[in-house]
């Protein structure tokens, strides 16, 4: 790891040090530290090993998708009555994970939270990859995925339009918008850093990198008028992304809540889904941040404070999610509706009961450890707990999808869902694809916003951060 002292002689001012940035960093040293990860540092055997495993997973996913296209969705465990299985559970899980990035970037920007700066870039990348992977699942689940473009309203020879009153069409609009706006937000944030990489590569005489990053930087020069418009546009994008984040998982929850299946048909769903999205998203932020800071020696930028703050958000959102669980149970019994009541009892003690209790352990019980300062500041423990929460949230999505469908109104139509090997390969393949994309991201783009770190250095030197 390069210490700031060896590189800082060109800097006229240095960070004084605070909870969100260690002391001794200047404009040049933060720039070089983050840019060099992309431009000069060797990939190393650890990266290659991880990349190899992830690539194998991606290959398995491609295989599973090919087989799906050949045979149809019968290769999965879905059937009547459980027509929505892993694919829809995975979709909700991934899109939930994709919420924390925009939340961190947009909401924490509007709230002027200083601890946003060093984690927003990779969290946005996480959002983009997770939302993209999420979007894959409903398409694969269509049966004839090659006709997915029928969801797009365009004048066609069939003379039909999408069914505007269907939440599945709303979902298409929500996911497509979310992906596009997340991409815009991420790319606009990247422009000044791409210019930095262009200039750094130019100084080192690396022609190919200079041209590549130069094309992507669009000729950014950092002129004051440009910065003024840039900041204004970035703020507007943050303001627009904030209601968007809330709307996307709300619309996803309407896929369920609009149907009158017991357990789906509930007004608590939209806020409950959004809280769950933030919960799983922040867990994934920790899952990614901890190895990232370790691998590239970024502990001075992603400090214990960042991790502890994420843990506090996890604690708060865990309670929101717990409130959702309690409201579901209460409403089921208070309603007096026999089907709702049975659905709840069936969750407790039915065939999927063990998954339910495991989920409550992961999402309600385990996060209570974050009350302890020592836990919030133990990096290893945070990493393990974040994985536990990721698993817990996946189980929640699975239970929502499956337990309501497998025993609804008519006992004669009850059935079970058993995942097949293709279900598992698709789930783990999607995780591999996520890891694969993230591994490429950390080597080709700056995983921390360099321009914003320079701003933080200045604020820190002036004692404001």
């Amino acid at each position: 790891m390069s210490t700031p002292d060896t590189r800082a002689e060109t800097d006229s001012l240095h960070s004084r040090g605070s909870a969100v940035l260690r002391p001794g960093w200047g404009y040049a040293s933060v720039t070089d530290k983050i840019a060099n990860i992309v431009l000069t540092d060797r990939f190393g055997w650890r990266w290659w090993t991880a990349f190899l495993f992830a690539s194998a997973g991606v290959f398995a996913l491609l295989l599973a998708i090919t087989w799906l296209l050949v045979k149809g969705i019968g290769i999965w465990g879905v059937d009547i009555p459980v027509a929505w299985g892993y694919a829809i559970g995975n979709f909700v899980w991934w899109i939930g994970i994709g919420h924390a990035g925009t939340f961190i970037s947009a909401v924490l920007l509007l709230l002027r939270q200083k601890w946003r700066t060093s984690i927003n870039r990779f969290a946005e990348a996480m959002t983009l990859f997770a939302a993209g992977i999420a979007g894959l699942f409903p398409i694969l689940h269509l049966g004839r995925p090659w006709f997915f473009y029928w969801l797009v309203p365009y004048p066609n020879v069939m003379n039909v339009w999408p069914q505007w009153r269907s939440p599945l069409v709303w979902d298409f609009f929500a996911i497509a918008t979310y992906l596009t706006v997340s991409l815009l937000f991420w790319y606009v944030g990247l422009i000044p850093d791409l210019a930095t990489l262009r200039d750094r590569a130019g100084q080192r005489g690396e022609r190919k990198s200079q041209v590549t990053y130069g094309l992507l930087a669009l000729g950014w020069r950092g002129e004051a008028r440009h910065w003024a418009r840039y900041e204004w546009a970035y703020l507007l994008l943050a303001g627009l992304a904030t209601p968007l984040v809330v709307s996307v998982h709300t619309i996803v929850s309407l896929d369920f809540a609009v149907g009158n299946t017991p357990g789906y048909h509930s007004t608590i769903f939209p806020p409950y889904f959004v809280a769950g999205a933030l919960f799983s998203g922040f867990a994934m932020v920790l899952t990614l941040a901890i190895p990232l800071r370790h691998a590239f020696g970024l502990q001075d930028f992603i400090t214990g404070r960042h991790l502890a703050n994420a843990a506090k958000v996890l604690l708060a959102t865990s309670w929101l999610v717990s409130y959702g669980y309690m409201a579901e149970m209460f409403t089921a019994f208070y309603s007096g509706d026999v089907y709702e009541r049975y659905m709840t009892v069936n969750r407790f003690a039915g065939p999927y009961g063990p998954v339910y209790w495991a989920m409550l352990t992961c999402n309600v019980l385990v996060p209570q450890l974050f009350w302890f300062r020592r836990v919030r500041h133990s990096v290893a423990l945070l990493f393990v707990l974040s994985l536990v929460i990721n698993c817990g949230m996946w189980m929640e999505r699975f239970l929502i999808v499956v337990t309501s469908l497998h025993r609804d109104y008519l006992p004669s139509a009850w059935g079970m869902f058993y995942p097949t090997r293709w279900d598992w390969i698709t789930l783990f393949g999607s995780i591999a694809l996520f890891v694969w994309l993230f591994l490429l991201f950390v080597r080709f783009l700056p995983s921390i916003s360099i321009a914003e770190m320079r701003e933080l250095v200045r604020e820190s030197a002036q004692g404001e951060a």
């Binding site: 930095t196 950014w220 002129e223 004051a224 910065w227 204004w232 309407l254």
Partner: protein, 178 residues
């Protein structure tokens, strides 16, 4: 004028404070097209050099309105005019059901407008710029701050401009070829 055509004069400064002071000084001398370059946005620098708030916010609003109105119109046209179907006696123009798509495309239209407006008003993408000919300018995206007196400024004259910048004790003073 016999001198070779130049883009302007470029001076390098070590800190944001020095750049702001220099910009203020030059503006006080009646320069209107001063350009200041920094590796991160500096609060207040825009006002010093006379940047205008510009059209980004109104254009973003327009993008949002167009996106939202267009999407609602599309749904109304499809469901009421082009392909009316009676579903359970619900009104053809069932507006609550049309809100989600309308809301989403409002946001999409506004976000696209904000991004495109920012780039277009900044004159980007513009991959080549005379300043890129100055080797030291590469530090503008790292740790240095630059002030440029462009030749197109009405008060520009090579000699006085050079003297003016020299008064400010820059780290470096360069002529930028056009």
């Amino acid at each position: 004028m016999n001198a070779p055509r130049i883009y302007g004069l470029l001076a390098e400064f070590p800190s944001a404070e020095a750049l702001c002071a220099a910009a203020r000084h030059v503006r006080a001398r009646g320069w209107t097209r001063v350009e200041a370059y920094s590796p991160f946005p500096i609060d207040g620098l825009g006002e010093i050099i006379g940047a205008e708030k510009g059209w980004i916010a109104p254009l973003t609003l327009l993008g949002g309105i167009l996106g939202g109105a267009g999407t609602y119109f599309l749904q109304w046209y499809a469901a009421v005019v082009d392909y009316p179907i009676n579903i359970g006696g619900r009104p053809l123009n069932s507006w609550p059901a049309f809100i989600p798509a309308t809301f989403e495309i409002t946001i999409l239209g506004a976000a696209l407008a904000a991004t495109v407006a920012m780039l277009a008003l900044n004159g980007l993408p513009r991959l080549y710029h005379p300043l890129f000919e100055v080797e030291e300018f590469e530090l503008a995206s790292r740790n240095r701050f630059f002030l440029c007196l462009p030749a197109r400024d009405p008060v520009f004259a090579p000699g006085p401009a050079r003297d003016l910048l020299a008064e400010l004790h820059p780290l470096l003073l360069r002529e930028v070829p056009a």
